[in-house]
């Protein structure tokens, strides 16, 4: 069984390893796939032919993301006061909500925590434990959506061999997380907020455009022409903060080994493909496995998988249903 510690290390930047042993059930499935190669290929072919191309989860996710951000906007513009503030901190019908990473920056820089800050942070912490940690990234963060659109452009250019994707070490994000925390402590300023495209975009949507949007555009260009989804993958400490929350969340993507043909479509669409290393042939140590905490629960793999090997799941609830 993949330990909690190993999943955490993979999120922090370590490469995932081949399992040392399999559960009896998984071992059986792996064996069967090797034995009946002809059958396996035929089934794969059959599934491919009947694949239902859909964007169900992507569309739902985009709708939620746009709705949440619009709620911020109309709360101010139409003065309906439902969700006041911006993504860094807000009030939902009066209840304090405070972004975990922004709260962390403020707490470390200011070194003083008032009750409202604590309440808002705790509320958001429990909210995202329930909803899946990095669910914040793919279902709420406005930069994620725009970066997704520009990613499509990047992939087109890669296909035409006009650009190549330059990968960075995933551990860089952990280094950024530590450095930005240290900088907040040492300098006494919320240094990360200066560059955070999440905060910049959220404020620009609500309070009107700013020069800072130029920085966000440069970031997007960097991602289009140099490195695919670089900010979300290798830099953003917000993602890691929510990833930590995701370690204890019951909402995750579940992988079923027996339904998988190991074609790897899911890894191609994934923002964080290392969480899907488990779908590589011979990597799954159990017949049914939860995807790691770094997963943003975006559902692109669920939409993409031709054989339904990847689904949304809620720990504890799956057995009830």
């Amino acid at each position: 069984m993949k330990t909690f510690k190993e999943k955490l290390l993979v999120m922090l930047g370590q490469d995932s390893k081949k399992p040392a042993s399999y559960s009896p059930e998984a071992e059986q499935i792996h064996k069967l796939k090797r034995l009946n190669k002809a059958d396996f290929e035929a089934m794969k072919q059959h599934t491919r032919e009947h694949q239902l191309v859909q964007n169900k989860w992507r569309n739902r996710r985009w709708a939620v993301l746009i709705a949440v951000n619009l709620l911020f906007v109309v709360s101010f513009w139409l003065d309906i006061q439902m969700l006041e503030g911006a993504l860094t901190a807000s009030r939902f019908v009066g209840f304090h909500l405070i972004d975990l990473n922004s709260a962390l920056q403020v707490m470390l820089a200011h070194k003083h925590i008032i009750v409202n800050l604590l309440i808002g942070t705790a509320t958001v912490f429990f909210l995202w434990v329930l909803l899946g940690g990095r669910t914040f990234c793919s279902w709420v963060c406005p930069y994620h959506l725009i970066a997704e659109w520009f990613e499509a452009l990047h992939l087109k250019l890669v296909e035409k061999k006009l650009v190549t994707d330059h990968e960075f070490h995933r551990g860089a994000r952990t280094v950024f997380w530590v450095l930005f925390s240290l900088l907040a402590i040492v300098t006494g300023y919320t240094v990360f907020e200066t560059l955070s495209p999440t905060g910049i975009l959220s404020r620009a949507l609500i309070y009107g455009p700013s020069l800072a949007l130029g920085w966000v555009f440069l970031l997007l260009m960097f991602e289009v022409f140099y490195s695919r989804r670089a900010w979300c993958r290798y830099v953003c400490p917000i993602g890691l903060t929510y990833g930590m929350v995701g370690t204890i969340s019951p909402v995750r993507i579940v992988y079923r080994l027996d339904k998988c043909f190991h074609e790897g479509d899911c890894r191609k669409v994934c923002l964080v493909p290392h969480v899907l290393d488990v779908v590589i042939k011979g990597r799954a140590e159990e017949a049914v496995m939860a995807i790691g905490p770094d997963c943003t629960r975006c559902g692109l793999c669920v939409d993409t998988c031709p054989s339904g090997a990847l689904t949304y799941g809620v720990k504890g609830l799956d057995k009830l249903l």
């Binding site: 860094t88 405070i98 070194k111 950024f176 300023y189 919320t190 240094v191 800072a212 140099y226």
Partner: protein, 293 residues
């Protein structure tokens, strides 16, 4: 960006010449990835730290909303959410941009454009602030700068007849100063008639004789004064500014606005002042200026 492709293609040949062990191409690409990552880390951290420049040079010294902690503590504790912006009845609060460096997203007031006139009666921005960057009760470990605390709680003229006439504000935001006495109408013994800031001015203010709870555009409230005293009459705080009569013996009634210790630096005088020169009103608010400094 094209540097990696040819290199990796020619890597095996280079290896056989130098007799390096197999797999060094992989090692090299790993090394390149590491160097790239180090450059990315340095670059992003460097860019973020550039945000210190505007703060250090104080090139964007801003008038902060009422109840703001001292500048360094304020920037540390502000979570850049703009809830203060949303509750202000006169939309006096604006947020900082990239040019403010670490002050990006932090609130400020441009008093000449729209000052805080305490139309809300209570400092709604302070009540809205989730982190205590704007606060009535400064934490004990932050000692106020000399001359920042007010002698006593400021009395809001609009609330003078209420049971609780004071604002719960213990420190000033800044201090008003007659920056250009030579253009001041009162100093010249001149009166004023008409819209204080012209027909195009968008600023709003609360006028108790119009509606206590609904601020109206300043342009909709023309004035007529024999001797201009707008900075004194429109000041929302009691005993914060007065006109001192000056007698030059020529029979002309002259006066000079005199800022008093109860001035909290809200900036209404700067907004309402009908004259300006070089883009600056006759009377201005110096942000974070202390009494007796």
């Amino acid at each position: 960006m094209s540097d990696t492709q040819p290199e990796s293609a020619s890597a095996p040949e280079a290896e056989s010449k130098t007799g390096r062990p197999q797999g060094s191409a992989k090692q090299r690409s790993a090394r390149r990835r590491f160097m790239r990552s180090a450059a990315l880390t340095g670059g992003i951290i460097g860019l973020a730290m550039l945000g210190y420049l505007p703060v250090a040079r104080a090139s964007h010294a801003r008038l902060r909303p009422p109840g703001a902690l001292d500048e360094k503590d304020f920037l540390a504790s502000c979570i850049k959410c703009g809830q203060c912006v949303q509750v202000c009845p006169v939309q006096a609060i604006k947020l900082g941009d990239l040019t403010d460096g670490f002050g990006i997203g932090a609130p400020h007031i441009d008093a000449r454009e729209q000052a805080c006139d305490f139309s809300c009666d209570a400092g709604q921005c302070i009540l809205a602030c989730p982190t205590g960057a704007l606060t009535y009760d400064k934490p004990g470990f932050l000692t106020p700068r000399a001359g920042a605390p007010l002698a006593h709680l400021p009395i809001l003229k609009a609330k003078e007849k209420d049971a609780e006439p004071t604002l719960n504000l213990k420190e000033r935001m800044g201090l008003a100063r007659l920056a250009q006495p030579e253009i001041c109408l009162a100093v010249q013994g001149k009166g004023f008639k008409g819209q204080a800031r012209g027909a195009a001015f968008k600023g709003t203010m609360r006028y108790m004789d119009v509606d206590r709870w609904k601020p109206i555009p300043v342009r909709d409230h023309p004035y007529e004064r024999d001797l201009c005293d707008l900075c004194v009459t429109e000041c929302p705080i009691k005993d914060a500014i007065q006109l001192k009569v000056v007698d030059k013996g020529d029979g002309l009634k002259r006066a000079v606005p005199e800022v008093l210790e109860q001035c909290i630096g809200c900036g209404v005088c700067e907004m309402i002042c009908p004259v300006e020169s070089g883009g600056q009103a006759a009377i201005v608010v110096d942000q974070r200026q202390t009494w007796g400094a």
